[in-house]
Symmetry: C2
DNA sequence: CTCTCATATTTACAATTATCTATATTATAC
DNA sequence: GTATAATATAGATAATTGTAAATATGAGAG
C-alpha cells in the first residue's frame, strides 16, 4: 500500500458517521436497512457514506435478494495496519509494537 | 482509545500533505525548517498542518534553541493500530492478523 | 534596545465535503 | 403490465477545511 491509497482509506474512516459504521461492521456483516436505523441521517446520505467506504476498499458490499450487505475487508485493513505500523521509533519514544489480534 | 479520538487522528492523517509529513517522520525526528523545504506550501500552511497532527496526539513537538523538532508518538500510533485491528472477521473474509513490526 | 531568524496566529477566501430533496434504478410481488 | 421495497444517483446548498498574505511571538546576536 502506498501513501495515496492509505490517505483514501484514512479520509474515509476519518469522519464521525463513517467510523461508527466501521465499528458496527466489526462484529460481522450487516445489511443497509438494519444499519441505517441506528443513525439520524437520510437514506441517500447513508448510501453516500457507504460508497466512500467501499470505493477505498476498506468495506465490501454484496447484493443478496433485494438487500445489500456490507462487511469489512480484513485483507485491506491489515494492509493499512502494516503500512501505518511500519514506523521506526526514535530514541526518546519507545515503540511497543504490539501484535494486532482479531478476537 | 475511543471512536472520537480515533476519528481525530484519522482525520489528521487523511490528507495528502499530512500523510507525507507522517511518512517523513517515520525515520525519526526532524525540524520544521528541513521538512518545509520538501513541500510546495507556505510556512503558515505547514504550521497549520503540524498543529493538526500535534493536537490529535499522533505527532509530538519539542523546542530546542530556536528550532522546533517533530516526531511520531509511537505509543499513540500503537493505540490507533490496536483500535483499528480489533475487528472480528466474518466467515467469507479471511483475517491474516499480521504482527506489526517497527524495523 | 534593535535586528534577524524560526515558527505560530489571524483573517479572508477558495476548494472540498456532508447533507438534503427529488428522482432513478433494480428487483420482487401481484 | 403496475405497485412496492431497498438502494443509488443527481443537483443544490450549507458546513468544513486547506491555503495564502499579513502579522505576531519568542529567542538569540549585536
Amino acid at each position: 500500500m502506498d501513501a495515496l491509497e492509505c490517505t483514501k482509506i484514512l479520509k474515509a474512516l476519518g469522519e464521525d458517521t463513517r467510523i461508527q459504521i466501521f465499528e458496527m461492521l466489526r462484529n460481522g456483516k450487516l445489511c443497509a436497512c438494519k444499519m441505517i436505523e441506528k443513525f439520524d441521517i437520510t437514506q441517500p446520505t447513508f448510501s453516500h457514506h457507504m460508497k466512500i467506504l467501499c470505493d477505498c476498499g476498506i468495506v465490501v458490499s454484496e447484493k443478496d435478494w433485494k438487500w445489500t450487505y456490507y462487511s469489512i475487508n480484513c485483507d485491506k485493513l491489515n494492509e493499512l495496519l502494516t503500512y501505518l505500523g511500519h514506523t521506526k521509533c526514535n530514541s526518546n519514544l519507545t515503540c511497543e509494537c504490539k501484535k494486532n489480534n482479531c478476537d
